[in-house]
Subunit: 382 residues, 2 copies
């Protein structure tokens, strides 16, 4: 049975019908007062979601565009950037900064691990001349399903005085991130994740401290220029033609998120992750991140059991259950599969996913204790 | 009567229902074989539309993003760029190049005029040491409704040896532009124009000559990186998460465009422009561009009659006819209004627009020969 596809990749994530139908409307003129009224509402709700008083810029790009925006508006050639890398997306910060001409130093943890705060502290304590201007890091690493202890890491960065530049692509709207209260300088995110709409928009918020770095930036980006976005945001508009349709959809999903409430959203994600992890463990499978304290609430990476391959699991889930899960990236390709459970995902969906995974594995010849995984998942959900 | 809005701004332009409904579907995974099959089809159709054998990159951004992509992948700091400016969007090339750190020289024509080929030739002939590396120009200037003689200008640029970087945002899919046959180096465009879909995608194609400049570019863009897009295009994918929904819509509109045929599309636009111009003249109004040989087939700029203001015309058209037209930009604000007639616009729509404009003016007290404008428009259309 087809035409009932359930995306369990880390993005695009499922989109509610309200948002899909908003996209099916004829686009409004982006300079009309009607659209500015929509933008005013969306800008206010984004501040609520990012837990900040600063403007949240809406960029027409994917999340990587917002990462480029951050680096190209802040970092000058030759600036020293420290990149904390725990996977593919942490590496991306370092690559972008290098392409910009920055002097990039990397602190890497093995894939599947988080950054040890003590390691960061030791390095920054060493930097007595304050040569390190920026520290890039990933809140939730999509390639491994690890969540860094952002608050603690950011405290260390703030104590040193560098500017923290945070990839919140798969954390905003899924995992607690208090931008202002924690004092984070730059947060970027993307629409096809916790925001529950299709890909095509990215978001960026920056602190007053980061703004000073922008003002000292030579040759910033034009398309992503912070100044242009700030000036436009004050007038409830955008500097260049925005993706009107996605913004109409975003208005709907932000309403849904406000109705649910931030704490409830984060708790739901925590429960879904706990349920999936319990289900997977009860099948006798190994989690790529066994340490619950750093395991992501948005994405779970799972090792296939002996004798069953990742491509076979993905194929069977797609063919027989219309569920799409992601392969591992880079060195983890075919070593793990990743299930996204962020955004528009309910407890019901989680039961579906665990039950389907168990059945798919049975079809592939894996002898697990049959039918017990959903029980384990439900116990963790209740 | 509301809920029947007709966008006659230069973008977003009207979107056919087929495309809107494609956007209302749940997004596909962007790394799936199903989506790669869609991309393969769309990439092929874009080559047809751009009349090129080169790859046409699909960028998730608005048209300005593609302009930034062109400059940031080709131009090094200190490179000499000659910008041909006939309006707001020509100026944008110069601004982006300056922000990049290029040494920018401007040849400007008065707003409402085109670039004189002889003026360009004289300047490039003078450049015996070939210091000018790039020439930026606008095919169809959206702020004034003027179309440059792109073929002739590009011939002069190619004879000199510089790289031509062309804004085709409101010309591709509306006005003849033979990228390969004319030997143009870089063409950029945006989705919410001739492509008949909402804003959010941009397009860029570049010649082998331009590719060499890319290979010599230090510190290019990461998000818009030509090399990354080319490598991905060869595998029917994109380097970063694309706007899946808009690409599904684009597949539908490209099918419609192929069914209509390029020559028919360009002829339709030429007829619509001629019809509107005839109608406007028969009302006794002045066209901002009186010279038919440089008047745009995509956008027409009109002066209000004495005693009637641009804001009043726009307000009445919106309120009583649900038609949205654009104001002038910069120094032309409130001096002209602009009617877009590109993309999903039919002869029927044109009659609607001319008749509504005539009625709106009558309501505002302008005494024109009543009811004759549609007759004049229809005569030009037949």
């Amino acid at each position: 049975m087809k035409d009932k596809q359930f995306l369990m990749i880390p993005g695009p994530t499922p989109v509610p019908e309200t948002a899909l139908l908003a996209m099916a409307k004829h686009p409004m003129g982006h300079r009309s007062s009607e659209f500015s009224a929509v933008l005013a509402e969306v800008f206010a709700d984004l501040k609520w979601l990012f837990q900040t008083q600063e403007d949240v810029f809406i960029l027409t790009s994917s999340g990587t565009g917002a990462m480029e925006a951050a680096i190209y508006n802040l970092v000058n050639q030759g600036d020293k950037v420290l990149s904390l890398v725990i996977g593919n997306f942490g590496e991306r910060w370092a690559k972008i900064a290098k392409m910009r001409g920055a002097d990039v130093e990397i602190i890497a943890a093995d894939w599947g691990k988080a950054i040890e705060p003590a390691v960061l502290k030791a390095r920054l304590d060493q930097d007595v001349n304050k040569e390190i201007k920026f520290v890039t890091l990933t809140h939730n690493e999509t390639s491994t399903g690890v969540t860094n202890d952002l608050k603690t890491l950011n405290d260390i960065i703030q104590e040193h005085g560098a500017i923290s530049v945070v990839d919140g692509v798969t954390s905003v709207g899924a995992i607690q991130l208090k931008m202002d209260e924690w004092g984070i300088d730059v947060v970027v995110s993307g629409s096809q994740k916790g925001f529950m709409i299709p890909p095509g928009l990215a978001f960026l918020a920056c602190s007053k401290k980061a703004w000073k770095a922008y003002e000292n930036c030579k040759n910033p980006s034009f398309y992503f220029n912070f100044g242009a976005y700030k000036k436009s945001a004050a007038q409830s508009t955008t500097p260049y033609t925005p993706n009107v349709s996605l913004i109409m959809a975003l208005r709907e999903t932000l309403k849904m998120m406000k109705a649910e409430g931030l704490e409830n959203i984060f708790n739901r994600h925590a429960k879904l992750a706990a349920g999936l992890r319990a289900g997977v463990r009860s099948m006798g499978l190994k989690l790529f991140v066994e340490d619950d304290s750093i395991a992501s609430n948005a994405i779970t990476a799972i090792l296939p059991p002996d004798g069953v391959t990742v491509p076979d699991i993905r194929k069977t889930l797609t063919k027989d259950f219309d569920i799409v899960v992601a392969n591992g990236q880079n060195q983890l390709q075919d070593k793990i599969f990743r299930m996204g459970h962020l955004g528009f995902v309910s407890e019901r969906d989680l039961i579906t996913a665990v039950g389907s995974l168990e059945m798919a594995l049975a079809k592939l010849g894996y002898k697990s204790p049959k039918g017990e995984a959903t029980t384990a998942a439900i116990k963790a959900l209740i």
